[in-house]
Amino acid sequence: REVEEAFREAWVDPGFRGSLARLLAVHIGRPTPLTPVRRLSAELGINLLLKREDLAHTGSHKINNVTGQALLASRMGKTRLIAETGAGQHGVATATVAALLGLKATVFMGERDIERQALNVFRMRMLGAEVIPVGTGSRTLKDATSQAMRHWVGATEDSYYCVGSVIGPHPYPWMVRTFQRVIGDEARGQCASELSTGVPDYVVACVGGGSNAAGTFAGFVDTSARLVGVEAEGGAGAALGRAGVLHGARSLFLQDGHGQIVEAHSVAAGLDYPGVGPEHAYLRDLGRARYVTVTDDEAISALVRLARTEGIVPAIESAHAVAWVIRAAGAGELPSGATVLLTLSGRGDKDVSTLKEQL
C-alpha cells in the first residue's frame, strides 16, 4: 500500500525525522513534563507520576500522531486530511496540523459526540476544518470511522486518511504506535532520572482504540514494569472482546453471539469504541499487559479527586486510568510504595458539559 511505503521511506529519512522532532518541540511543546503527584500519592500510599500529555498543544496526545501523519501526507503530495474523531481531540489535532501545514481537513464525527463535545466541534471549525456529522449506527466513533473510510476510498488521489488511533488496516496501527512512541520514550528517560529504581513498577494508561497506551507501553515493554490498560466498562474491547475484524484490523472487539459488533457505551467519548488496536490484543494474549475496566462513576470521582488534590483536571478518558490506580491502591492490589507511571492522555476542558450533567 502507498501509505506503508511512504511511511517506511520517511521513517528512515533523517530529514523527515528532523522536521517531525522540530515541530514537536517548537510547536507542540514536547517534551511534556513528568509530574510527581504528591498529595494523591500520599493519600494512596504509592508513588504516582503523571506523563502530562494534557500539556501538549491542543490538549491531548493525539497531536503527536497527527503531526507525524500530516507531515507524511505533505511529503506524499496530498492536499487534504480526512479523519474520524470521537471525543474530538483527534479532530482538533487534525484540524490544527492541517492549518499549520496548509492542508485542508475533513473530519467525520458521530452526531452523539458532536452534542457531547461542542467545544471541540467549534475549535475544529475555527481552525478551518469541515466537520461532517455521522448519523448512522450508534452515531459515535465507530460509525464516524466507517464513514471516514468510505469517504476516503473515493478520494485517495488527493486525500490522506489520518487515522487517530492504533486501529484500522495495516500499516496504521503500527505507524500510529510508532508516532505515539515518543510518549513512552520520553517517559522512560524521565523515569530514569526521577526514580531511584530507574523504571516504575507499573505503567498505566487508558485504552479506547489504545494509542496513548500503545505509545506509552512501547517505551516500557522491554522492562520489568507491569503494563495496565484501563478501559471503560462499556467499551472494554481488550478486557471483554473476542477476536474479530473491523475497520481493516484483526483484533479484539465487543460482539454479540452472531458476530455483530456491539455498540460501546461510555461517558468518555474517546473510549466509546468497541475494539482495541491489534497490538493490545497481542499484548493481552502474550500476558505482557493486563486490561481492566472502570465504571463511568469511578472515572468521574477520580477526575474530581485529581483536580482537588493536584490541580489537574484530566480528560474523562484519562480519568479512567486514575480511577483504576485509586481502586487498586485501595484494594492493596498496588503494593504500598509502588511506583506508578500513568499517562494523562489529555485535559478535561472538553468534558465540562458532560461533567455538568453528571455532577
Binding site: 448512522t136 449506527g137 465507530k142 460509525d143 470511522t145 466507517s146 473510510m149 468510505r150 476510498v153 473515493g154 478520494a155 485517495t156 488496516p169 495495516h170 473476542r242 477476536a243 474479530g244 475484524v245 473491523l246 475497520h247 481493516g248 484483526r250 472487539f253 460482539q255 452472531h258 458476530g259 455483530q260 459488533i261 456491539v262
Partner: protein, 261 residues
C-alpha cells in the same frame, strides 16, 4: 455445477450476465425478491448477510442492513430461509470478514453449503490473509469471489484474477456502493484490464442503476451487479413484482444490445 461453470457457460453462449443483490432478512418475506429476480432473468443472485458495520457500503445498503438487523435478522435465519427454496439460480452470499472470523472459515462455509449457496463475496477480506478462507471455501465447494478496483496495481490484479473463483468482482468506481448517474470510465478500463489477465467472467459492480448503465458496463465486462438501485426500491416499499419488473427491463436491454451487435 459450480458458480463459475454456470457463469462461464452462459457467458460463452453470448449472454451478458446480470446479478442483482438483496439484503437478506430485509422483510419477513424477503425470499419473494429472490423469486422475482429469478423470474426476471437473473444469472445469479447476491444475498447480503447483514453486518453491523458495513464499512464498504454506501448509504442505501447501510440503511437496508440497519433495517434487517433491527428486524433481528441473523445469518443463520437467512440461510435457513434460503435452504428451503426451490430455484435454479446460483446464490452468492456476501458479508463482512468479521462474520467469517466469528464462526471460523470452515463452519461458516459449511453453513453456506448446507443452505445451497455456491459463491461468497467478502469485500473487506485482505488478499494477504485470504488463504484460510480460500481453502475452507474450496473444501465446501463454494467459489470465493475476489474484488479488484481501479487502484489495484497490475501484479496484484493478476494475482486476484488467478485466485478468484466464480468471477472477478470489478469495483467500478473508487468508493462505496451506490447509484450514480453515469458509469465511470474507470469501470470500462478496469474490466478490460482484468479480462486481459483471465478467462474467468468479470462482473462490474458499484454504481449500476439503469438499463443504460448496465449496457455500457457490459460492453467491456461479462456482466453487471445491481445492488443499491434494487435496494433503494425495496426500502421505498416496492413489492417483489415491481422490483422484478425493473430488473426485467435491464435484462431486455442487455439482450437487445447483444442481438444488435
Amino acid at each position: 455445477m459450480t458458480l463459475e461453470t454456470r457463469l462461464r457457460d452462459r457467458r460463452d453462449a453470448g449472454r451478458k450476465l446480470l446479478m442483482p443483490y438483496v439484503t437478506g432478512g430485509i422483510t419477513p418475506t424477503w425470499v419473494d425478491y429472490l423469486r422475482a429476480f429469478a423470474d426476471a432473468g437473473a444469472d445469479a443472485i447476491e444475498v447480503g448477510l447483514p453486518f453491523s458495520d458495513p464499512t464498504l457500503d454506501g448509504v442505501t445498503i447501510q440503511q437496508a442492513t440497519d433495517a434487517a438487523l433491527a428486524r433481528g435478522a441473523t445469518a443463520r435465519d437467512i440461510l435457513g430461509d434460503i435452504s428451503g427454496l426451490e430455484h435454479d439460480v446460483p446464490l452468492v452470499a456476501s458479508t463482512y470478514y468479521n462474520l467469517v472470523v466469528h464462526d471460523g472459515p470452515e463452519r461458516f462455509c459449511a453453513a453456506l453449503r448446507d443452505a445451497g449457496v455456491t459463491g461468497l463475496i467478502v469485500p473487506d477480506l485482505p488478499l494477504d490473509e485470504a488463504g484460510d478462507l480460500e481453502d475452507a471455501a474450496a473444501s465446501a465447494g463454494i467459489d470465493l469471489v475476489l474484488l479488484a478496483s481501479p487502484a489495484t496495481p497490475q501484479p496484484r490484479l493478476d494475482e486476484i484474477a488467478r485466485r478468484s473463483r466464480g468471477f472477478i468482482y470489478a469495483v467500478s468506481l473508487m468508493g462505496t456502493t451506490g447509484e450514480r448517474s453515469v458509469v465511470a470510465e474507470s469501470a470500462t478500463t478496469l474490466a478490460s484490464r482484468i479480462k486481459r489477465s483471465t478467462e474467468r467472467p468479470v462482473m462490474v459492480g458499484f454504481g449500476i442503476s439503469t438499463p443504460e448503465h448496465a449496457v455500457e458496463a457490459a460492453r467491456s465486462a461479462d456482466g453487471v451487479i445491481v445492488g443499491a438501485a434494487v435496494m433503494r426500491r425495496v426500502l421505498d416499499g416496492a413489492i417483489p413484482h415491481d422490483v422484478g419488473a425493473d430488473l426485467a427491463r435491464m435484462r431486455r436491454a442487455l439482450d437487445q444490445e447483444r442481438d444488435r451487435r
